[in-house]
Amino acid sequence: MVADSRRSMRARLYPVGLATALLFGASGLASAATCPTVADSKGIKTVHPQQAELAEFEGQLGRKLAFSDNPLFADRVKAGQLPPVAQRLPAEPMVVLPYQECGRYGGVLRGTSRALESGTSEVLSWRQVNLVRLADDLATIVPNVAKSFSWSDDRRTITFVLRRGHKWSNGVPFTTDDVVFYFDDLIKNKDLHPTVPGVWRVGGKPVEVEKVDAETFKLHFAGPHPGLLHYLSTGGSFFSPYAPKHFYEKYHIKYNPNADADAKAAGAENWVKRFKQVWDKWGDTETINPIAVTRPTLESHILESEANTQRRAFVANPYYFKVDSAGNQLPYISRQLERFLDKELQLLAIMNGEIDQKAQGVGLENYPVLKENESKGKFKLTMPPGQNGDPIAFNITHKDPELRKIFSDVRWRQAMSLAINRKEMNETLWFGLGTPQASLPLGVPFVTDANRNYMIDYDPKRANALLDEMGLKRGSNNMRMRFDGKPLTILWEYTSQFASSGYVQLVQGYWRAVGVEVNLKEITTQLTRQKALAGDTDIVMEWDIPYEPNLISEIELYTPPYREGSPLFGTAWRQWHLSKGDKGEEPPAWAKRLYQLEDEWRTTVPRSPRYMEIGREMVKINQDNLTIIGTVANLPGPTVVNPKLANVRDWTVQHYNYARTYPFRPDQWYYKE
């Protein structure tokens, strides 16, 4: 009804857009007059999907856009504490075409995390912004905080242009000085960062930032770095490369000679410790300190009160840089509330209708209970794909020479893969919702069905034949022995974070059936990591299957050791490669080839013909050697959303690498009633 009456009003008021905007702005309803949307663009054509720059948009509209804002700010504007909206917005705001409708202001978006730094990335995504973002097709990179960007032909230099008149949440101008400050005084400061983070180094040399004017800056790299934008819009989307210089100056020794003394007065040993209390690359961490209430940000919502051990509360940023296509400043939703609850309680809270959107950590095992409760109407359940049945990797570079001999025989890995009954696993563990599949990068154009189905048949006969061929004879109890005649026993030290006990028990059964004894032992995640680093685990599972944007920006996820902080195998191989043979251990020929391809990939333009060739070859090498054994892919990740929330698009993926659910545009969400 509301929508209907508004639509008819829109028709009537069309010629007097400005008056309508004022009228509705004042009454708390965002203006719906002449609101081009994704569903109905009213003839507006944009360069980037669903968003436009103001000049471009007004040009097509044939008139100036009048701005209005959340009534939440009205009192402060009237009292002179806040300038009116037209002065708060950048001179060049971004115009967002909402999915369905221009919304209305108000409401609280309620979410939950486990603790201050545990499972918080989804709520962070509700407000987070970066220079660029990923469009809904999960491939195109579009402007966000930056108005535009352009690469040099050799992809060594990228130029970003910021929005003229863009302001921090306290009204202070946001300029290239804040970017230069981030690079020269934070990232490249030896005290704060003994080593410059990997993404800002090419060929071992850190990035050089060059200020052109107040809105334009260039980043110069020592070599081509075509993966940068993909990093900034996926895995690195939480690490915005700018920081409010005017706010952090007083904590920094370079700008405040008394910073050390000030730090001591505040109870910290020196300025570095103090600085790390108030600033962190991971913007979420900063909000913990009480000082964060005054910390300016560009995000859609800012801290409303000090965070404590129970909750964090946010309120709309009066200086947010986006407007909808009718000129209403975003975000529509006035407040965000993040409560810290234990995992089981989160589920209860969802069923109770106390959570407005949640995907992170809901867990497929809760699918039946959620489905059962969905009919009560307190939440809508969607199932975007994004989880994958955890992969298994044998430690090819095992410390024990006998086990190394066995594991590094490719027939062993083939046999182990063929012994697994993936269909049964899918039915037993995941309600049959997944697809049995080999372990492969996801969403990449160079993976074929042949790759997906490689060595995933359930064929214990062939597995037995391969093991016999290897010479792993059966002993008196019909279980296989090692080459040295001792019983072959695999110790599977797993953590519930990466595999359920049901998972490991099923696989244990499959492998026992082909004569391989497996002992299970659950240990903590900390321990698995330490053991993996020491290289004396038999099986490692801690591999985040990369999506294409991750592969573009962090190709080392697909070459040994696959995960630096918690390696699958081959840490010494990489050492050998990096030290050009000085340190570590010489890798086999196939791994050497992978490293070669990795180096070339880093300088190759995504989706170019050479990119496709390298991708295909890397997939082939990894598959021929069965470096990682996959089980089931495309498992859905239950995602709940309040049915009253509008402008929520159907999600196509649910994964950390996309900052949780995607396409995700919470700044245009609003409550229908």
């Binding site: 990335s121 051990t309 209860l348 900390q526 321990l527 918690s566 950390y656």
Partner: protein, 327 residues
């Protein structure tokens, strides 16, 4: 007497110091450190941290130093009354604990109130009407209360609260009252949430108290002075309340000192299950994450309270019972 107190105080300080070392070592015992726990938490949401970043975190927090150095810098702070900064919450430990103390105390107070209010009348009744049907019924419930794990009762009550009474899940306030200033409505909201943890936390203690009250009173009831008083024609109720109950209460009251720790520590498991904003879950998280400053401070405070509580009840006993020699 003064010498005794001085000597006891000396021992107390020594014990506290030893406890601080043991606590420090025990907290460090599990494999890994806070940095590892942090990496694991990050990994849980899919975020990767490079080895360099982990090392930076370690050196920033100073947990890359040998344990005795860490201990020294921690304990010298404690001596000055400064418990340092919590790794996890990135705030001074005193702030973190302080935030949760008022509700912990409120919870403990109401729980104690509940325990005594329920158990004493029932205990007295059971003793007076020994082996009656009611006594057996109360005993049965008492044993069930003793035998059922707290967290299970918590889960059941919470499910009922959520499913049938439309209560918000977890915590002691509905979300809309969480940050509101104190008002009558907020107080009522608190009471509406408070009863579940109070019942859960009080159940085992209540069952326990009923049993001891019953046993103690039964001892007293058979004594000569009771028979004498009854023979003298004292009204039964007055006799009961004035003499045997008072005697039976003595041991129960003298154990009140022990409850000092309980008051501060909350109950970690129940606290976690119900997301109570008391110190219990805080303590558990600090231990799991090896957040040394916070966990250390809490162990230290618990121990200090236990030692002080024991000292106080010892002193009380000496004062009350001249048979205990002052040596």
């Amino acid at each position: 007497m003064l010498r005794l107190i001085a000597r006891r105080l000396g021992y107390m300080l020594l014990t506290l110091w030893l406890v601080s070392i043991v606590a420090f070592i025990v907290i460090q015992l599990p494999p890994g450190d806070y940095a590892e726990a942090y990496v694991a938490e990050r990994a849980q949401s899919g975020a990767r941290m490079s080895e360099e970043e982990i090392q930076e975190l370690r050196s920033h927090l100073g947990i890359d130093r040998p344990w005795y150095q860490q201990y020294f810098s921690w304990f010298s702070g404690v001596l000055r009354g400064d418990f340092g900064w919590s790794y996890e919450w990135r705030r001074p430990v005193a702030d973190v604990i302080g935030e949760r103390l008022p509700l912990t105390l409120a919870l403990a107070f109401f729980t104690l109130l509940f325990m005594y209010a329920v158990s004493l009348p029932i205990g007295i009744y059971s003793a007076v009407r020994q082996y009656s049907v009611t006594d057996h019924v109360f005993s049965l419930f008492g044993y069930i209360g003793l035998a059922t794990p707290n967290f299970l009762i918590a889960l059941v009550l919470m499910y009922l609260g959520q499913q049938y009474w439309g209560q918000s899940v977890g915590g002691l306030f509905s979300p809309e009252f969480q940050d509101a200033p104190w008002s009558w409505a907020r107080f009522v909201d608190l009471l509406a949430h408070l009863w579940i943890p109070v019942v859960v936390l009080g159940t085992a203690g209540t069952a326990n108290l009923i049993r001891s009250m019953r046993a103690l009173l039964l001892d007293e009831l058979g004594k000569m002075y009771v028979v004498a008083a009854r023979a003298a024609g004292l009204s039964p109720l007055r006799l009961l309340i004035k003499y045997p109950v008072r005697m039976a209460l003595n041991p129960i009251v003298s154990t009140l000192g022990w409850r000092l720790t309980f008051v501060i520590s909350g109950a970690p498991i129940v606290g976690v299950v119900m997301a109570l904003p008391d110190t219990g879950p805080l303590f558990l998280h600090a231990l799991l994450n090896q957040d040394m400053p916070l966990a250390g401070a809490m162990v230290f405070i618990y121990c200090a309270l236990t030692i002080i509580g024991t000292f106080v009840s010892d002193m009380l006993l000496v004062l009350l019972d001249p048979r205990i020699k002052m040596s």
